[in-house]
């Protein structure tokens, strides 16, 4: 078994404009997903929007810059993730296909085994 991180990238404005009803509908989709995936689910969280993000960089001489912004400004931003257990990439892709992401898509990355 290996672990894969499924990163959910979606258009944040859709949620900002969608109201409570949308939140509840999407929340339900995620509950259904979690139920379907069962024991393969090793973790996951939703993130607050990128407007709350703070980026920190250190340059070569050790000076630290703190910026009120996400690391990269993109139309579709990282909004949540799941950590999933799967035998191989095919299995991980099958699970990831079921992750709700109606305003974008997901990226699957293998976790580095230490």
């Amino acid at each position: 078994m290996s672990q894969y991180l499924v990163l959910i990238y979606e258009d944040e404005s859709a949620y900002a404009n969608g109201g409570q009803e949308l939140w509840e509908a999407v929340g339900k989709e995620h509950s259904v997903f979690a139920e379907n995936v069962g024991a393969a689910m090793a973790g996951g969280n939703a993130l607050q929007p990128t407007s709350t993000a703070t980026s920190i960089r250190k340059d070569d001489s050790g000076n630290v810059t703190v910026t009120d912004a996400p690391f990269a400004e993109t139309k579709e931003a990282l909004g949540g993730y799941y950590l999933l257990e799967a035998a191989d990439l095919d299995e991980a892709i099958e699970l990831a296909k079921q992750v709700p992401a109606r305003f974008g898509g997901v990226e699957v990355r293998p976790i580095m085994a230490m």
Binding site: S2, A87, D88, L89, D90, A92, I93, V108, P110
Partner: protein, 418 residues
């Protein structure tokens, strides 16, 4: 005992025919693509020496597999202490069991069959970029050296080597499984394999740049791969259609370039130079595949109409127009619209063809496609609109880098009435 030249020829033939089989069987043992390649290369090198002394074995593939396996076991034992950087390929339990068995009874037909299917499915996995799928297929399934693969795609050897290494790393690290897809997944995976083979063919058929119109090595490899897939997936109509399409299109190879190396269009080709055996095989395959109308089968059916026409003038353009209409339903791409427009023009007159073509003028996908302006020019000449034809040929010339196609367009341009 055979002499050196005979041995070299036998090894070269075994390389062409058996590489995929030997590599696939070795990967199952080593579960590491790099290690398996090393073993197979060693086995072929050994063959050059041993076959000269012992004679060419009756079953070269089995001989090479045994030698490659032995080398694999040897290296794996050594590597127990010297762990490789890449993790082992992921296999299903079944294949791990049969790996033992295959050592004893290599001729177990289904094991061989599954080995090669596993290998090509891994090379053409949808999680790999298509350019990587193509590179891996040529390198691992066809056994072409990285330098040759790079030359075929006109990129530097170091770029190609990096591409292949990156793809192999992804297979190992992201755990792209090395296994035969389930019956449910198989059709989709066969589609991916077919599009890699088709792209190899089209790249070889009209080399996008360079001096030679056809890069026969790529065309021959695509035919070889399509034939292999016919064996591995005998009932898949898409594979039948693909092989038919390649055979029928390639049957015109000798007639496409004149003695002066110039491109000869379908209209002017000497049809007695067409390869009748390839045409017969292609048409039989189309007939078998035809109730299914996937894109390869329909394109093959169009090629079959051309193949059966005694001359350009006697071509059944209405039949071709109808087939393009069916094709547009499942594959509404700008290039298919373009070909449909040309067929309509030939069936119903240049004015109708030109109207349909001009309706495609704003299509961004055709903006860089030389055939679009060349087709417009063809109908404009027929309609006596010479000035417009001239500028259309000039636009087409700006868009092709193939020397033979350029010469053709230039000669058409020069041949325009003043």
């Amino acid at each position: 005992m055979p002499n050196r030249a005979e041995v070299a020829a036998a090894v070269a033939q075994a390389h062409r025919r058996e590489w995929a089989f030997v590599l696939a069987a070795t990967v199952r043992l080593t579960r590491n693509l790099d290690l398996a390649e090393e073993c197979v290369q060693d086995a072929y090198a050994r063959a050059l020496i041993d076959w000269e002394r012992q004679g060419v074995p009756t079953n070269p593939g089995a001989w090479l597999t045994t030698v490659s396996h032995r080398r694999g076991l040897d290296l794996m034992r050594r590597e127990m202490t010297l762990r490789r950087s890449l993790p082992l390929l992921v296999e299903d339990d079944e294949s791990a069991d049969t790996a033992e068995l295959a050592l004893d009874a290599m001729e177990a037909a289904h094991a061989i069959h599954d080995d090669r299917l596993r290998l090509i499915c891994t090379c053409c996995h949808p999680a790999l970029a298509q350019e990587s799928q193509i590179a891996l297929t040529l390198r691992l399934v066809c056994g072409i050296t990285t330098a040759e693969v790079a030359r075929a795609f006109l990129i530097s050897e170091s770029t190609m080597a990096a591409r292949i290494t990156r793809a192999k790393k992804k297979i190992a690290i992201a755990r792209i499984p090395y296994r035969v897809p389930s019956a449910r997944e198989l059709p989709e995976r066969l589609d991916a394999i077919c599009s890699v083979i088709h792209l190899l063919f089209t790249t070889g058929h009209t080399a996008p740049t360079g001096e030679s119109l056809v890069r026969t090595d790529l065309v021959d490899r695509s035919i070889q791969l399509a034939r292999m897939m016919r064996v591995l997936a005998p009932d898949n109509p898409g594979v039948m259609g693909l092989l038919a399409l390649i055979l029928l299109t390639d049957s015109r190879r000798d007639a496409r370039v004149g003695v002066d190396r110039r491109l000869v269009t379908l209209a002017k080709q000497d049809r007695s130079q067409w390869d009748r055996a390839a045409i017969d095989e292609g048409i039989a395959l189309v007939r078998r595949a035809l109730p299914h109308t996937d894109r390869y089968t329909l394109q093959a059916a169009i090629a079959a109409v051309h193949a059966e026409a005694p001359s350009w003038e006697e071509t059944d353009w209405r039949e071709i127009t109808g087939l393009y209409e069916l094709l547009l339903r499942i594959w509404p791409s700008p290039v298919v619209y373009l070909n449909h427009a040309v067929a309509v023009g030939l069936a119903d007159g240049p004015a109708k063809g030109l109207t349909l073509l001009d309706a495609l003028a704003s299509e961004p996908a055709l903006a860089a496609y030389g055939y679009f302006e060349a087709s417009r020019a063809y109908f404009l000449v027929d309609l006596g609109r010479v000035d417009e034809a001239k500028s259309a040929y000039e636009s087409a010339l700006l868009l092709t880098e193939n020397a033979v196609e350029r010469e053709f367009l230039e000669s058409r341009l020069e041949g325009l009435p003043l």
